[in-house]
Amino acid sequence: MRRNGVRQLAILQTVSTRSSFLPRLAALLLLPLTCAAASLSSEIDRHIAQKAGGTLAPLASDGEFLRRAWLDFTGSIPTPAETRAFLADKNPQKRAQLIDRLLASPQFPQRMEDAITVMLLERRGGGKVPEAKWREWLRAQFAANRPWNALVHDLILLEGDPKVTPAAKFLADAEKFDQEKATHDIARLFLGMNLQCAQCHDHPTVDDFTQGSFYGIYAFLAQSSLKEDKVAKVTLLAEGVATNRVEFKSVFRKTNEVTGPRLPGGKEIPVPTFPKGEEYEVMPAKNGNPGVPKFRSRPLLAKELASEANERFAHTSVNRFWFQLMGRGLVHPLDMMHKENPPSHPELLNQLAREFIAHKFDVKWLLREIALSETYQRASRAPKGADLAQLKPETYRVANLKSLSAEQVARATMLATGAADWLPKTPSETPAAAAPAAADDTEEDGATKSAKGFNVKAYLNGKLKQPPGNVVDALALFVATFANPPGEPEVEFAPSMSHALFLMNERLVLDWLKPRDNNLTARLAKLKTPAAIADELYITVLTRPPEPAEIAEVESYLAKNTSRPETALGELAWALLASAEFRMIH
């Protein structure tokens, strides 16, 4: 409020120097409102500028911005035609228009599906619900722009049979409901608290992460377990009657401690006791309905966790979405949100959280505001004269480099090489668009065929020779190569020799670089001049026109390889696909 006041005064002074003072004064009465509504994107820039400690990089070139926005919001790169049109567009509003168009595109929910699946499931695989079903459900949530708190609420509440309920894949998609894992996941992903140490004892170096905070969350879930209703033939994540608070004991101390359900920073919820025989809303039936107790703590967790009042949830949520676009959390590491690891920009984090709540946890709105900021649109190269050593990632003075996810590498590689045009979309050649509408069997059938037709593990162990022949299988191969091992969050760029070996020696990728139909190398082969070839190559693969030196390099390489022009074109394209520029969102 105070800052708004200052700004108001500044404007008053500016205006007062003008001649028509009085008529404008009336308009100024509206200013507090206008200022309060200053767009979040400009507020982001103000906060970042305030703590920059040096020159900020200028805005990224159109090409760099276009590539970044496409990868961030669709998960792939633009087609060459798309790129040329954007570069040629003279409209000063074209960046905002692009952001709106991408956010409205059908690829946006798919991109969120990829990103949020990796975030929540951490590629753990397995379980009863097929990942395809979970993804379909998650995509629908983002297609409908479901409020984030509502989505999270559903993940925790988990009504319905976990064996067939897609949302169950997060919390309870296993043979048994693991309350400890659920507690860890909820704390880490939604509360910014890595409580791994705190399960057995208070965190040795982080005062905020106590064993009590672990067991407070745990107490919400302690009564939940998978129960089979043999009459209705469903399994439910049922709740028993909470009779006691949860008892825990530090491995450091000998005393036992107890806690009831309590969110970190919140109040403990008293567990009511009922006279014997009156504990249930719905009495459990022998071998049948597991019953519904009058006091249920899991719905309380769902409600309290994803509520406006839970500051940690809002902070963690905006921090994670910020990270998704900016490559570094305001609080970093993302799950170490505590006093000793303060945010780089505390006021910005507060404001993002506040406005995210005010906009009813509207993810699309939040991403849009961040993307509209100059901070998001900054160049990734250092500003002139800046000391590279001083360009700390947490200053956001240049755009931080972000690694392409496994899915992004796959989609971008298919798009760039042109394989996206000719590769069948699914193993059964069913157009992908038809799948969601079809009955459950179709996807399961598809998945089965895929498993029979292409087994990634067998392929990577050299037991299966035939490379993948469709988009789904190719994606699986890229994910198996580029994704982190199950259970490891994908936060840092983790290049591996196996990625390099894959790009150098995987026949699939090398085949995509052979001329065919109207793919990249086929188009290049038809072009006459090195300049035209370089232009098509760079626009297609790197979403930007080539520099003169790059055109010269293409020319000299082709001149050296006149006896094998097609192979040489493939090699030029390969070098760009294998370059750091392609591998990073810059």
Partner: protein, 406 residues
């Protein structure tokens, strides 16, 4: 603490309940079972059993000696025991004989009523390395032992002379063993033994969750019972986890319960789901998988059937309390009653059918991860207490103590 850990009372009044002249419950009521008296021992105990005449209680474990309480006189005496930890302890149902075994494969027979007496005989190297289980035939003639080498050996209870072998000895080290279905003998070390009430056969349970049914007279393997649920070796494990840890037959010999740990999550903490399988003895098929409803992560280490068909079981929990659980296996897989207590390594039923006994873990305040430099002087081992679990309703006003003899 909500659990039992009331400080151990003066040992002289601990065993009142069990004196022949002590208060007797008239009605067996497992639904009202509760923790009774406790006796503390300064080292951890592994086994605790009642003598068949109900007059003695014997226990042993990490302190290598055998503790024997005479219930009538409340006197405790000890027997010299073993050179290493005691792993198994069993009374001869006929006569005054106690057998104990240790972690180096030695078995000893004792005249347990004689304080400080030397062993009646010693069988050395009985089962290569560790002997883990003992049982005695119902006629009292044969002592059965099982351990690391996977053979069940029968010894004469008179002199310890070898009488019979069931299966062939494994020669590969414990860590290199591989399970194969349908073998004539065990593929892994033996953890549990129980003789059928008819006295004609017995079961042996192994490291891999296989229970083998043997005929005593002929020495023949009758069949395998599949308790593989109690064994886990995930792809990334470097050791076998679980095994059949205990057995119990019901009085008529119609049911066999096997206890242990299922779904272990690692071979380090070895946390998993405590589990009991109840088999129909006639068909050999598992009828029910019993479970606990409270959080507990270790194996079920002791099982006993009560006279009303109730099955009692007791196990371990890492750094926290667990329960002694009571099931009606025919009704539902969850216990109908539990008694909260610290981890237990054994369970036995008094011949009067009214009380169970278990050696329970007692933390002495030195547990948990180091560093303990500061507490150097106070660093002590953990302990045990022998705990009785009364299988009847609590009596609110305690009847007057029987008058002590002058």
């Amino acid at each position: 603490m909500p659990t039992l850990l009331a400080a151990a009372k003066d040992p002289t009044d601990v065993l009142d309940d069990l004196k022949p002249a002590g208060p007797k419950a008239t009605v067996l009521d497992p639904a009202k079972a509760h923790l009774g008296k406790t006796i503390k021992n300064e080292r951890q105990l592994i086994r605790a059993r009642f003598s068949p005449d109900g007059l003695h209680l014997a226990a042993a474990g990490l302190d290598k000696i055998i503790h024997v309480w005479e219930l009538e006189t409340e006197k405790k005496h000890t027997l010299p025991g073993h050179v290493t930890w005691v792993s198994a302890l069993v009374f001869n149902p006929k006569g005054k004989q106690l057998f104990t075994a240790d972690f180096q494969g030695n078995i000893r027979a004792w005249d347990y009523v004689k304080p400080d007496s030397q062993p009646l005989f010693t069988i050395t190297g009985a089962d290569r390395q560790i002997t883990r289980a003992l049982a005695v035939s119902n006629d009292g003639a044969l002592l059965l032992s099982g351990g690391d080498d996977g053979v069940v050996r029968a010894w004469s209870t008179k002199d310890g002379k070898p009488a019979k072998e069931f299966g062939t000895a494994l020669t590969t080290p414990v860590w290199q063993r591989v399970f194969k279905a349908g073998e004539a003998g065990h593929c892994g070390g033996i953890y549990a033994l129980a003789v059928h009430p008819d006295g004609k056969s017995f079961v042996s349970g192994d490291q891999f969750g296989v229970a083998k049914h043997w005929e005593i007279a002929s020495g023949k393997l009758v069949r395998d019972l599949d308790a593989r649920l109690l064994y886990t070796r995930k792809e990334d494990f470097i050791a076998d986890v679980g095994g059949v840890r205990c057995f119990a037959f019901d009085a008529k010999g119609e049911r066999l319960a096997a206890g242990g740990l299922s779904k272990a999550e690692s071979n380090a903490f070895c946390p998993g789901t405590p589990a009991v399988l109840v088999f129909d003895w006639t068909t050999g098929k598992a009828l029910t998988e019993l479970k606990l409803t409270v959080k507990s992560d270790g194996p079920i280490n002791g099982l006993r059937y009560l006279s009303d068909g109730t099955l009692a079981g007791f196990g371990e929990h890492q750094s926290a309390a667990t329960v002694c659980a009571f099931w009606k296996p025919a009704d539902k897989p969850e216990p109908f009653h539990t008694v909260s207590a610290q981890s237990a390594t054994d369970l036995d039923l008094h011949p009067d059918g009214q009380r169970l006994v278990s050696p329970l873990f007692v933390a002495n305040g030195s547990g948990g991860n180091g560093a303990r430099e500061k507490f150097k002087d106070k660093y002590v081992q953990n302990a045990s207490q022998i705990a009785l679990i009364n299988l009847f309703a609590k009596v609110d006003t305690k009847p007057a103590k029987p008058v002590k003899k002058a």
